[in-house]
């Protein structure tokens, strides 16, 4: 990792990179994004996934401001089913499930976003350096990635998180990103390798436009869709791992999120009480909906950018 970063710094330094490469990268990516949404608006699944994701993110951040969490238990209303006052029923403390779900999304969304972006960032740097430098650096990095992939991540994450006794959301995201980047790096590398042999990159190389310009102006904007898709899949994975850690009782119980809701309900035997099913179904539905929205958004992005998939499959 350290080596890879150094190599990249060295490349930039040697080519005397200036800021307009980054400016080019931003405008190039922006054009790509606008184009994507034009095509995406024609794809129903993609549109559903995208709107749902945005809605959940807004709900998780805006909801608590409008409808803050209940602070006291309500003994008269324990384990009620769906009603006009409580659309999703009440839980084992008599608190409204819908309100808890609205208030419990923030951690999940933040961890998913942070982990997705962080691990993709590491993967893009390592993967593109590996593909561009080639030779021994490439083979050592890829050999390491292949070996890393054989280690089951969830037990490792569980053990590390227990021993480290992580206190906050950011540390957990960093830990998950450190464990998860290698698989993404391998995908980035193969993507860069295949793009590298395209005519327009070869033309840019022949015109001697310089490695930074080729990476930021030609290569990365054309990989944006791929990067977005992989980041989204990594996000769903992060949701799984994080709620799993909560379920095992590793991540602190302090804040109330969907994972904590499930785990608390399960510990109280709600699973075996048909009247209390809403208490566990509501947070489960929230997680499943978020994961499904993310995945259908990613899959439709895949279809938008791979015309081959649209016709043959």
């Amino acid at each position: 990792m350290y080596m890879a970063g150094l190599t990249l710094v060295f490349i930039f330094w040697e080519k005397r990179i200036d800021m307009h490469h980054f400016y080019d990268f931003i405008t190039g990516s922006w054009q790509e994004i606008v184009k994507t949404f034009k095509i995406l608006s024609r794809n129903k699944m993609g549109l559903f996934g995208f709107t749902m994701t945005i809605l959940i993110i807004f709900m998780s951040f805006g909801g608590p401001l409008i409808w803050p969490p209940e602070t006291s238990a309500n003994v008269a209303e324990i384990n009620k089913g769906s009603s006009v006052q409580h659309w999703l029923g009440t839980d084992f403390q008599g608190q409204d499930n819908l309100r808890k779900v609205i208030n419990g999304g923030k951690d999940i969304v933040v961890i998913a976003l942070l982990t997705g972006i962080l691990s993709m960032l590491i993967a893009v740097i390592v993967g593109s350096v590996s593909a561009f430098v080639g030779g021994r650096v490439d083979s050592i990095l890829m050999e390491f990635v292949n070996i890393w992939l054989t280690i089951p991540k969830f037990p490792l994450l569980a053990v590390l998180a227990t021993v480290l006794a992580l206190k906050d959301v950011v540390m957990l995201s960093v830990l998950m990103a450190i464990l998860d980047w290698p698989a993404l790096a391998r995908q980035v590398r193969s993507q860069v390798l295949s793009l590298k042999s395209r005519e327009y990159i070869e033309a840019a190389t022949m015109l001697d436009l310089g490695t930074p310009r080729i990476i930021f102006r030609e290569l990365l904007p054309n990989m944006m869709s791929f990067i977005a898709i992989s980041t989204i899949f990594e996000m769903t994975h992060a949701i799984y791992q994080q709620t799993g850690l909560v379920f095992l009782g590793i991540v602190p119980y302090s804040s109330s999120n969907w994972g904590v809701m499930i785990s608390a309900a399960e510990r109280r035997g709600v699973l075996f009480n048909p009247h209390a099913a809403w208490g566990i179904l509501a947070p489960m539905a929230a997680i499943v909906l978020f994961q499904l929205a993310l995945v259908s958004f990613a899959r439709s992005l895949d279809e938008v950018f791979n015309p081959r998939l649209r016709t043959s499959v």
Partner: protein, 357 residues
């Protein structure tokens, strides 16, 4: 032949043999597997000893908090973890590697004095049984359904199965597990979920007879279903796209032109080539399913290694934790090795390419 030439010939064959062994596909895989195991053991050592806030430190703190004097706490923690704290870190590391090689993983912290290796040996067969069976069922079913989707593509069967597969693939395994308990056990009352706790009924004698087999199957069936449901989606989608790609190959068109029957084309031409790449995925899938077993075995109270790991985590029983983690990882690495071997046997191109390199 004369007595003078004989040794040189045997020397040459010996050298050739050594070169062949060194470049052998299987041997390089084995070296890689051993390297992975070393890597994991080193990580574990760092976690339990060398890292700031490592398991030994935490254990010492906990013991002091219980009223044990700092000196005693240090000795007890060292004894439990099987580490000599007075030696320099490097020799502690070497000793730890030696202990792991001998299968000595320390003693449990909560259930006093029980050796970790013995505890793991009791539960390991159940995980190997349930995960192995689940993987086989998933693989066969996934390939079959994926091929059907590819053959019937753009019909309602394909759309239905594709959507189901994509949904199952997106949802976390333990949520499927929770839903299975809720639906099969509580709402529909199809299976007696409370009686299904554990890997077998109490009082059942392990043996190769019908009563025992029926009993362990009764205990594993819902867990098995959840394993299959949670990993079948990606197999189906992968198999479908592989089959679609293979159907477009020239040799399939030629086979059709020759008037071969559909069944023969499917089994001998399409199926074989579409399934081949999936064997490499079998390796990564093992890790994923075993990782998921930590949550699912805890959910179904099925006494396998995942359950043991989950329990040791909630007990903060560090010696068991590191032991189980090592054993899980080593089994997954060996499963990978096996998958690689099978793949090399199924696809001889891998051998040839490997030897050319």
């Amino acid at each position: 032949m004369t007595t003078i030439t004989a040794p040189t010939i045997s020397q040459r064959t010996l050298l050739d043999g050594i070169r062949k062994i060194a470049s052998s596909y299987l041997l390089r895989r084995l070296a890689k597997a051993l390297f992975s195991i070393w890597l994991v053991t080193t990580i574990t050592f760092f976690v339990i000893r060398a890292m700031p806030g490592s398991a030994v430190d935490v254990l010492m703190q906990e013991l002091t908090a219980q009223g044990v004097s700092p000196e005693d706490a240090r000795n007890q923690a060292a004894a439990l973890m099987n580490i000599d704290l007075d030696q320099p870190l490097a020799s502690q590391y070497l000793e730890y590697l030696g202990n792991v090689l001998r299968g000595d993983l320390g003693n449990s912290y909560r259930s006093a004095g029980k050796p970790v290796s013995k505890l793991i040996a009791q539960v390991l067969p159940w995980t190997l049984f349930s995960v192995g069976l689940a993987l086989m069922i998933t693989f066969i079913l996934g390939i079959g359904l994926g091929a059907i989707m590819a053959y019937k593509r753009d019909t309602w069967i394909d759309h239905l199965l594709s959507n189901i597969a994509a949904t199952l693939d997106a949802v976390s395994p333990y949520l499927i597990g929770l839903l299975a308990i809720l639906l099969f056990g509580i709402t529909w009352k199809l299976v007696p979920i409370m009686e299904m706790r554990g890997a077998m009924s109490s009082g059942m004698k392990p043996g190769f007879n019908t009563a025992f087999l029926v009993d362990i199957f009764k205990h594993v069936r819902v867990l098995l279903l959840v394993y299959v449901l949670s990993s079948i989606g990606s197999w189906m989608l992968q198999m479908k796209s592989n089959t679609v790609a293979t159907l477009g190959e020239d040799y399939v068109t030629v086979a059709r032109a020759r008037g071969l029957t559909d069944v023969r084309i499917l089994t001998a031409y399409v199926g074989r080539n579409a399934t081949l790449p999936l064997f490499t995925r079998l390796a990564t899938s093992v890790g994923f399913v075993v990782g998921g077993s930590v949550l699912l075995e805890r959910l179904f109270t099925y006494q396998g290694v995942g359950f043991l790991l989950a329990r040791s985590i909630s007990d903060r029983d560090y010696p068991i934790m590191q032991g189980v983690f090592l054993v899980i990882t080593i089994s997954v690495i060996f499963a990978n090795l096996l998958a690689d071997y099978v793949y090399g046997w199924l696809d001889p191109r891998v051998h040839i390419l490997g030897e050319e390199n």
